[in-house]
Amino acid sequence: MAQMKHTITALVSDKPAVLSRVSSLFRRRGFNITSLAVGNCEIPGMSRMAFVVEGDDGIVEQITKQLRTLIDVIKVSDISKADFVSRELALIRVRANSTNRSEIIQLVDIFRANIVDVAPESLIIEVTGDEDKIESINDLLKTFGVTEMIRTGTVAMMRGMAGGTEETQATNLPRSRSDATS
């Protein structure tokens, strides 16, 4: 089966060690995480995590099932098969001087990125987009010299009314049913 990237989101209780529980599970089961993002969500006391993982369908099914075994994990969705939006934010520090600064600014405009810091020898560029867009601008900026980059990791959401709290409550009880019928 083909290795492909899957985007998985998980609603988790905002309790101590929940991040360790999740990352420990990925480590001990040998699952590869490409990116992980976590933060507050629309429900008080809960957080939502987004993972990008690599693997075939069997591995991704195991990942979602294993995540569901954690008591603090409330809902897990592999949203890659549905229509979804994914975004990531990156800050990139690039070498810049009076001769090439305008060229960089043009590039930033094309990518609808922002310049958030200007120094005599460098610029900090803030860019938001899916993974491909961030890779692209980073590749182009490399020709000027990227001295530092930091990324938030991908966050993602299904399009339309498919996801979110309402569905969480509706599917709360038989959360393993989808496994039984798959």
Partner: protein
């Protein structure tokens, strides 16, 4: 009503129906211990090592179906529970461990006897807690018992700092838990039940593979009903042993690496495997691609993540084995498979791996057979890990439900001593035999003192071959008999040791002494130990080398003059 944290722990445990605790005090859990005299209804058994407390709680839980409870102090006390906790996690045993922690103000400072036990046990518990306020203890214990005992059972650890035991809080025990992320599915999905029933109807050569899940859900009658109604032979995995009586005509023994040859060969021919409460462990399947090559698979398990993890499944059913079997038994039509049963009989005749060789010397298989005879196959038998464990599994012939207790998944040597103690405490009405290896026995034998002290009348049968026998056998088979670090050239005198502990000790060197010694141990009013000086280099057969298939099956070599016991 305001109580101290320590009192809240005890009050909560009483509300959970806890009657017995295995434990050992230390600095960090002393405030908890000092409340114990106020609660005479709780029996505390003081062990000699925390590993003993953990395995004893596990043995107690397995035989009673109740949650086993172990207490330990911070640091080394807590880390000594790691092996028992992992054992319980691998074998799905309900257990709650309560550890003391250093005071809140000292956490994170590398204080004396500080260990991050909630961090350490995070990957080996079903769930764990660090309780930072006395006001949180009651709800935490409520949740811990609920999580440990429902769904796929497992161990839960609660770590409580020393000063929290002394802190006062209002005590009110909650009626229910609020765990939105934990809702075990109990009933099988109706459409899956229908599909399973159809597969069973269409099958010509079906087999049931019964695992620990059958015992955990007490589905003995339901399993028997399915087997008899649809006439399906029942194979029991190591931990499935005693889920189905081995004197039943449809009983087909244990599969896998040291299973019966005919069992493994039958699986090769089967066209349907009905897996009940097992995880298709590598010791059962061997090389996955060659396991049950002609069979479709129905897999029933409480844990969705166990389904489809190792083998490809045709019909997955998430649910409690007992409830799913009840549903299935209604949907399944009566059937006969006489041709299949006859085919299995033929395989059995060609590969009679349940018989044992007649020897002049004392071999462990003979001892197990004799033990089965004296106890009529009805004792609770606890084993360690290794050759003696497999011989017990192969030859004892378990009849009573839930009477075989062993560390399956983790394979923890030393389990046999404290787990047998816990089993006897849980079932004082039953005869409890611990079949031990001389290697494992020496890992935990300090608990003999606990048994003598508390008059816990376990009977020990040490299969003393002066070797780490299973490892030696691998060295013989796969490393040209290079016996590196497996020979115990100077074991202690186990008989004198037993006497020193205050038990009966009897050495057995000859076949004729076996039966009388077993009888003597059974009649003795107290814990007793039999030191069976068995053949040093006896090999365990059959064997399917790891990662291979029945094509590589090694059976016991047959000498022309050999005679066989039936």
């Amino acid at each position: 009503m305001k109580l101290t944290g320590g009192q809240i722990v005890c009050e909560s445990l009483i509300r959970e129906g806890v009657a017995v605790i295995f434990g050992l005090p230390g600095g960090a859990n002393l405030p908890l211990y000092q409340t114990l005299p106020q609660y005479p209804q709780i029996r505390h058994i003081l062990v000699r090592h925390e590993q003993g407390a953990g395995h004893a709680a596990d043995g107690y839980a397995r035989v009673t179906g109740k949650v086993g409870v172990a207490w330990a102090t911070s640091g080394p006390g807590a880390t000594n529970l790691v092996t028992p906790i992992t054992t319980a996690q691998m074998d799905s045993v309900p257990m709650v461990c309560i550890t003391g922690q250093v005071a809140r103000s000292s956490i994170g400072t590398d204080a004396f006897q500080e260990a991050d036990i909630s961090g350490i046990t995070l990957p080996i518990t079903k769930h764990n807690y660090l309780v930072m306020h006395a006001s949180r203890i009651a709800e935490t214990i409520k949740e811990a018992f609920y999580i440990a005992s429902t769904g796929r059972p497992g161990p839960v650890l609660i770590d409580i700092p020393k000063d929290v035991f002394n802190e006062e809080a209002e005590f009110q025990y909650p009626d229910e838990v609020d765990l939105p992320g934990y809702k075990p599915v109990l009933d099988g999905h109706p459409s899956q039940i229908k599909r399973a029933a159809r597969l069973i109807k269409e099958a010509e050569r079906p087999l049931i593979l019964a695992g620990h899940g059958v015992i955990l859900s007490k589905a003995y009658e339901e399993l028997k009903e399915l087997a008899e109604k649809a006439q399906i032979p029942v194979i029991t995995t190591l931990l499935g042993i005693s889920s189905f009586p081995e004197n039943h005509v449809l009983s087909l023994g244990m599969p896998g690496m040291h299973g019966m040859a005919y069992t493994s060969l039958a699986i090769d021919d089967a066209d349907l495997i009905v897996g009940l409460g097992l995880r298709f462990d590598d010791r059962v399947t061997g090389k996955i691609s060659t396991f049950a090559p002609k069979a479709k698979v129905i897999h029933v398990d409480m844990d969705p993540s166990a389904i489809g993890k190792n083998v490809k499944v045709t019909v997955p059913i998430v649910g409690d084995v007992k409830r799913v079997l009840r549903q299935l038994n209604q949907a399944v039509e009566p059937a006969v498979h006489l041709g299949w049963l006859e085919q299995i009989e033929e395989i059995k005749r060609a590969h009679p791996s349940n018989r044992i060789r007649e020897t002049d010397s004392l071999i462990p298989q003979f001892v197990i057979k004799q033990l089965a005879e004296v106890t009529e196959g009805k004792a609770i038998v606890v084993t360690g890990v290794g050759q003696h464990q497999m011989w017990t599994a192969q030859h004892y012939g378990f009849i009573e439900p839930n009477s075989f207790i062993s560390s399956g998944g983790l394979g923890a040597m030393g389990y046999e001593v404290p787990a047998a103690m816990g089993a006897k405490v849980g079932r004082p009405d039953k005869t409890v035999w611990s079949v031990a290896g001389d290697g494992g026995f020496q890992m935990t034998m300090s608990e003999l003192a606990t048994m003598v002290e508390n008059d816990i009348q376990v009977k020990f049968a040490i299969m003393n071959n002066r070797f780490l026998g299973m490892v030696r056998q691998w060295q013989e088979f796969f490393y040209k008999k290079s016996y590196v670090a497996t020979h115990y050239t100077h074991n202690p005198d186990f008989v004198k040791l037993a006497e020193a502990f205050g038990m009966l000790g009897v050495r057995v060197t000859d076949k004729t002494q076996v039966m009388p010694a077993i009888q003597q141990a059974m009649e003795y009013n107290g814990p007793a130990l039999l030191d069976f000086m068995v053949e040093e280099e006896e090999n365990l057969y059959p064997m399917i080398p790891p990662g291979t298939s029945t094509a590589q099956l090694i059976e016991e070599p047959v000498e022309e003059k050999a005679k066989w016991h039936r």
